[in-house]
């Protein structure tokens, strides 16, 4: 009687196990994909080694010229950031060492652990791991933000340094999880090496910027060819006659050949991050009187205006300008020096809805109704206002995949018609702020990317 009887449950279990095995084989990351990461790690380590050599050289020049550097408030600020970066370098290096040491303790190494995630995660979750690194890096970010002078290069963007990181697919993940956790050693270790390299590179940038304040620039020099090539925004070639010949008498930069006026101009002059249309402070905290002690010609012509101890200028066009400083104290106009500066266009502003909990794609109507306007901002150092206006935008409500209503809003505040659209939002609706037109003080008009929200309740 048993012949011909089929055990259905047995076959169902076998089929289920078969599906589970198939799923495992699909979700597992191929080892060959991670294998190439070993070369990424090696590349990062080799670049860092070269950068450290440059850091050491520029450190030596800084130490030799510390007295002169200390007279420039900008250079001093840069060096403070440099010192803080050194601290962070030690922290990330410490975490890497901790990982290596733990691998040795467990009688394993990075190659054996390359595709594994358990041990690395356990090590990184310890007190000497990611917690320590996260605390330090966010403190570093705050330190740089509060500095009186800083460079455009931002670690915040490239590491990135945000408590919550949005993935390419729009998912919100914690910083530590995004970079380190639930990942094979190949990824986590590579991230640590990458952060270490970025800190080294930033340290070098700040050291070079501090040196640039007293006239030192990175160069290419050959002992066989007297030509000197300076690495600046563009490569500049010094002619032979510009270079000091053997036996030629030279004076030290700290010698009295530069009098107080000259030194003060050097320490007060700000020629980086100059933007068209904005009120740029060219000479800060400068006691000498224009017309009596000194004069400045700016070509193409623009007006220099004195406010308290600062000299401010608004450039009307982008491009290169020539500043020529004169000493007029002895009744004659004696050229002190010339400097070329570049006036940059104002970067594109970033627009968002001003309010709480509105930085993600999925939002609640309640949070949206608490907001009352769009807000534009610019990531420019020391700019405490937005140099322009949001003139108009379109507000579109999508319901069940169809455009239900759209209105034009003038100015940045939500006008009545916009408030009506927002008030009618329902769960799963899409809300789009589109065609956001912004005028800036340089006379240009920009259109920002649309802001899109999905209503979740």
């Amino acid at each position: 009687m048993a012949e011909g009887h089929v055990d259905v449950k047995r076959y169902q279990i076998i089929s289920l196990l078969y599906i589970v095995f198939i799923c495992f084989s699909v979700i597992n990351i191929k080892i060959s994909v991670l294998d190439s990461n070993s070369y990424t790690i090696k590349s990062l380590q080799s670049i860092e080694k070269e950068e450290l050599k440059k850091v050491a050289i520029s450190n030596k020049i800084i130490n030799d010229n510390l007295e002169l550097i200390n007279r420039s408030s900008k250079a001093v600020s840069y060096l403070k950031i440099r010192t803080r970066l050194t601290q962070s370098y030690a922290v990330v290096n410490g975490v890497l060492k901790h990982v290596d040491d733990e691998f040795v303790k467990e009688k394993t190494n990075i190659s054996k652990q390359f595709n594994s995630r358990n041990l690395i995660e356990e090590i990184l979750k310890s007190d000497k791991g990611v917690k320590l690194l996260e605390k330090d890096l966010f403190e570093l970010s705050d330190f740089i933000k509060k500095a009186s002078f800083k460079l455009d290069a931002s670690l915040d963007e490239v590491i990135p340094l945000k408590k919550t990181v949005t993935t390419i697919k729009g998912k919100q993940e914690e910083w530590s999880y995004y970079l380190f956790f639930h990942k094979p050693t190949a990824i986590s270790y590579m991230q640590l090496e990458r952060i270490k390299l970025l800190i080294t590179k930033t340290q070098l940038l700040y050291q070079e910027a501090a040196l640039a304040e007293i006239g030192y620039m990175p160069t290419y020099f050959s002992q066989f060819n007297p030509k000197l090539y300076v690495l600046k925004a563009s490569v500049k070639e010094y002619k032979e006659e510009d270079i000091i010949k053997p036996g030629q008498k030279v004076v030290n930069i700290t010698d009295d050949v530069y009098d107080d006026l000259f030194k003060k101009i050097l320490s007060s002059l700000h020629t980086e991050n100059i933007f068209v249309g904005l009120n740029n402070t060219l000479l800060k905290d400068f006691d000498f009187m224009m017309g009596t002690d000194f004069d400045v010609d700016i070509s193409p012509k623009v007006n220099l205006v004195k406010t308290d101890k600062n000299y401010r200028v608004v450039f009307n066009k982008t491009g290169e300008y020539l500043l020529r400083f004169y000493d007029t104290r002895r009744g004659q106009k004696k050229v002190l020096f010339e400097k070329r500066i570049v006036v940059n266009p104002i970067p594109d502003p970033i627009v968002h809805v001003k309010g709480d909990n509105l930085n993600s794609y999925a939002i609640s109507v309640k949070d949206l109704l608490g907001a009352e306007r769009l807000e534009a901002s610019l990531e420019i150092n020391n700019l405490n206002f937005f140099p322009g206006r949001i003139n108009s935008y379109k507000v579109i409500r999508i319901h069940n995949g169809k455009e239900e209503e759209s209105v034009s809003n003038y100015g940045e505040l939500f006008q009545s018609t916009t408030q009506k659209v927002l008030g009618a939002l329902k769960k799963n609706d899409l809300l789009i702020f589109d065609n956001v037109n912004i005028s800036l003080v340089d006379g240009s008009t920009r259109t920002s990317a649309p802001i899109i929200y999905k209503i979740i309740d």
């Binding site: 249309g277 007006n303 608004v314 009307n316 109704l369 608490g370 009352e372 306007r373 206002f385 937005f386 140099p387 322009g388 206006r389 003139n391 108009s392 034009s408 003038y410 100015g411 505040l413 939500f414 006008q415 009545s416 018609t417 408030q419 009506k420 927002l422 008030g423 009618a424 037109n437 005028s439 800036l440 003080v441 340089d442 006379g443």
Partner: protein, 286 residues
Amino acid sequence: MKRLFFLILTLQVITNVSYAQDTLAGNYSKLNISSGKHIIKEVVTITGKLTVEAGAKIEFIEAGVLVCESAVEIIGKNHNIEFAGKNKLEGVGLIIKNADSSQVDISNAVFKGLQLPIFFDFGWKRLAVNISDNEFVNNIGKVSVLQVLNPPFNFNQSDDYIPFRIIHNLFAGNNAAIYFEDLKSDHVKIEITNNTFANNSVYGFKNYNISTNLIYGRADQLFSRFSAKLEGNSFVSNYLVDNLSDTIVHIANFGVYGTDKTFDLANNYWGFSNKENILKDYMIKL
């Protein structure tokens, strides 16, 4: 019999003349709108001077809008110029745009039943603007009754400024606000004096905010030359009405926000004589 026929014919001609109405359409290098009835059903652009004579009645239907790119001279007598939206098919109103060295003078006119009676679009510039002795009544649009965006920014090196005067007007029974993009400016010197704002409604959320006020705008330290002068005005029974439930939520007179520290609102009547009630009427976020 012959006499009677001619009499009827003459009467018909007289009647037709008295009811004659002119439909304005297309673009004009300059336009003179004379006394009598005129209709605007589409976008009419005037690149030169617009003159509206006393006695003119202009009806705006649906997409009807007058776009003025140069001088505007609308000077009536005893409010005998009328800009009106057609009932149930209300048109837009006047748009002032373009940078020009002429003036805008609007006085003794009535604006009623319109979507957006007067709109100074972004980038506009004139020698002066004078809006006085007009009546803005029962305009139905919910965007703005009078909307003034900024002139172009790129004359920030110039000392020029535009005197912008709103004097001795009546704003009553309208459904929208008066919006100035910047109440403090380096290039527009705003004066809003001796006007009456009564029984207007502004539509919005239930929660009272800056833009749900009868007059609102921004005051920033970015500009330092001219703060709007608001004096001698009377504000009576102006309310925020909830868009969804169509119910009165709050008294809504004046709203200002921005980085400036102060804004002078003294010497106006806000509908109350005690300070506590007055402070409820306007919303200041500086």
